[in-house]
C-alpha cells in the first residue's frame, strides 16, 4: 500500500489551532493580566512614599508658611511664634561655601580627567576613588571634617563653624561634580576639538573656549543636583556647623541650618518647635524641588 502525503490543510497537525479572535480565557492571556496587575501594584507601592512624604510635609508644614516664618528667629523653648530665618540664611551660606570649594575643584578635576590625563594607571585610579568617595556615608564626611578642622580648632581657634560645615558638604559634593564634568566633557565630539586645533588653537584655548562651553549644560546640571543634595544633608553638619538659635555671626562661628534645625526641633517636647521643624521641612523640600526643576531645565537646553 502506498502512503499518501497529507494535504497542507490537514486536521492532523501537531499544533492546536485557535480562532484568530482574542480569547481572554487562554492561559497566556490570564497570566498576562496577572503580571500586569502585580507590576502595577509594585509600581504604586514604589511611588507611594514619595507622594506621602510630599503630601504630609505639605499639609504639616505648608499651613505655617508666612512672612514671619521666613524672617524671624526661632522662639525660646516654651514660647510661641517665631520663624526659621536664621536657618534659611545658614543653609544658603553653608551651601555657598561648599559650592565655592567644590565647583572649582570638582570641575577642574573633571577637566583634568577628561582632557589632560591621557592614558595610564592614574586616571582610572582617580575615577575609581571618586566612585568610592561618592558612596561614602555622609556622616563619615562629617566625622572626617570634625577630626581635621573642628577638633583641631584649625580656623582662628574656632571649633564649630559654618566654614567647617561648608567644607564637609564640599567633600560630599566633589564626587558628583567631578563625575558629571568628566562625563559631560566626554560627550563633546572629538571632531569639535580637532576643529579648534585645526585653526591653530592651543590646548588651553580649545578646552576653555570650545569644549567647556559645549559641555556647559551637563556640567551645570550636575552641579545643581550636587548642591541640592548637599543642601539637604544633616549628618555632616551636626558636628561641624553645629546649630545656633541666633542670626549668623560670620562664617567662623556655629551657624543654624534647616536640616539641623529639623533634627533638633522635631524631637523637642514643645509644640512651637515641632511645627517649625515641619515648616522647615516644607521649605527645604520646596528648595530641593526648585533645584531639581532648574537642573531639568538646564538639561533640556542641550536637547534643543
Amino acid at each position: 500500500m502506498s502512503r499518501i502525503a497529507p494535504p497542507l490543510a490537514s486536521n492532523t497537525s501537531a499544533f492546536e489551532r485557535h480562532s484568530l479572535f482574542f480569547e481572554s480565557g487562554l492561559p497566556r492571556n490570564r497570566w498576562n493580566r496577572v503580571f500586569t496587575g502585580v507590576a502595577a501594584v509594585f509600581a504604586g507601592l514604589a511611588v507611594l512614599p514619595l507622594v506621602l512624604v510630599l503630601l504630609y510635609v505639605l499639609i504639616q508644614g505648608g499651613k505655617l508658611l508666612s512672612p514671619q516664618l521666613l524672617t524671624q528667629l526661632p522662639p525660646a523653648p516654651g514660647f510661641d511664634g517665631g520663624g526659621i530665618g536664621n536657618a534659611i540664611i545658614g543653609t544658603v551660606v553653608v551651601s555657598l561655601i561648599a559650592s565655592l570649594i567644590a565647583i572649582p575643584v570638582g570641575v577642574g578635576g573633571g577637566i583634568y580627567l577628561s582632557e589632560y590625563a591621557g592614558r595610564g594607571w592614574f586616571p582610572p585610579f582617580v575615577r575609581f576613588g571618586n566612585d568610592v568617595l561618592a558612596g561614602v556615608p555622609s556622616i563619615v564626611c562629617g566625622v572626617f571634617i570634625y577630626g581635621i578642622i573642628v577638633a583641631t580648632r584649625l580656623f582662628f581657634g574656632q571649633s564649630y563653624s559654618a566654614m567647617a560645615g561648608g567644607i564637609a558638604l564640599a567633600v560630599l559634593m566633589l564626587p558628583t561634580v567631578i563625575k558629571t564634568t568628566d562625563e559631560g566633557l566626554k560627550l563633546v565630539p572629538q571632531e569639535m576639538r580637532w576643529g579648534a586645533y585645526g585653526v591653530g588653537a592651543s590646548r588651553f584655548v580649545t578646552i576653555s573656549r570650545v569644549v567647556l562651553p559645549a559641555a556647559l549644560t551637563p556640567i551645570a546640571t550636575g552641579v545643581v543636583l550636587a548642591i541640592a543634595r548637599a543642601a539637604g544633608e544633616t549628618a555632616p553638619l551636626i558636628f561641624t556647623a553645629l546649630f545656633s538659635p541666633f542670626w549668623p555671626e560670620g562664617i567662623f562661628n556655629p551657624i543654624a541650618t534647616m536640616s539641623v534645625l529639623i533634627f533638633n526641633f522635631a524631637i523637642m517636647p514643645y509644640e512651637a518647635q515641632n511645627s517649625l521643624a515641619w515648616a522647615a521641612s516644607f521649605v527645604l523640600v520646596l528648595m530641593i524641588l526648585a533645584a531639581n526643576l532648574l537642573a531639568r531645565w538646564l538639561g533640556s537646553l542641550s536637547r534643543r
Partner: protein, 274 residues
Amino acid sequence: MTSSSQAASADQQRRNDVCMALQDVTISYGKFEAVRGVYMDIPSGRVTAFIGPSGCGKSTVLRALNRMNDLIPGCSLKGRVLFDGQDLYNPKVDPVEVRRRIGMVFQKPNPFPKTIYENIAFGARINGFRGDMDELVERSLRKAAVWDECKDKLQESGLALSGGQQQRLCIARAIATEPEVILMDEPCSALDPISTLKVEETMHELKRSYTIIIVTHNMQQAVRVADMTAFFNAEAVDGGTGKLGYLVEYSETEKIFNAPGQQATLDYVSGRFG
C-alpha cells in the same frame, strides 16, 4: 588654464615650487606601522589629491602634515616632513604654530556650537587678528561660497545650517586664519552631490591663493579638482593584524588616470579593486 606660452611657463614655475616635502615618512600607531617610506614633493598653489583603498594610510599621512596626529595617543612619525624648508617634526617646532600656517577641514562638518560669525571669528581672534572682523567674516564666507546663504543669519548657530553649508562654513573657518596650506580629509564624504559640487567649486577658487591637499574616496572628484594625485595602497603584513600602507605612485592627475606607471594604480583607477 590659458594657452599662452607665458602663462604656461609661469605655471611651470609654480609647479616647481615645492610647498611641502615628505622624506621617508613612516607613521606608526603604537608598535604597529600604518604607512611606510613615503617620499613626496607637494607643489604650492595647486590641488593635490590622495586616493587609495580604505586603510591605506592616506588620512594618516594628511594628518601628519599639520601634526594633527599628535592628538592621537601612541602615534609617532619617523622621517622628515618639510614645510617652508623646516622640518615640522623638529622638537623645537610648536605644533600650534604649524596648524596656524596649515589649516584643516575634516570629514564630518564640525562647526563650533557658536554663531556663524563666531565660528569664523574664533580662529582669527586666537591668531591675534587686529583688522576689521566684520570684513574678514564676509571675505572668508565669500571665498568659501557660502556667504549668500548665511549673510542674513550670521548671529544664528552654525549648527542650524545644512550639512553642505556647515562644511563650507568649516572651509571658511579654515581660510579665515589665512593659512598657506589647507588640508581636507574627505571633505565631501558626508555631503550630497549638489553640496559636493559647490565645495569643489570652492576648491577651484581657493587654489589661486592656497595650496590644497585633499583626501578623497571619490576618484571622479580627484579628476575634477586635483592637479596632482598620489595613489596609496595597502598590503597585509606577515604576523601583523592590520595592513601596511605605502605610496604606489604620485604624478599629474592626468597621468595617474590615463597612463599610470604601475599595474596596481591602473587596477584601482579602472575600478578593478578597492
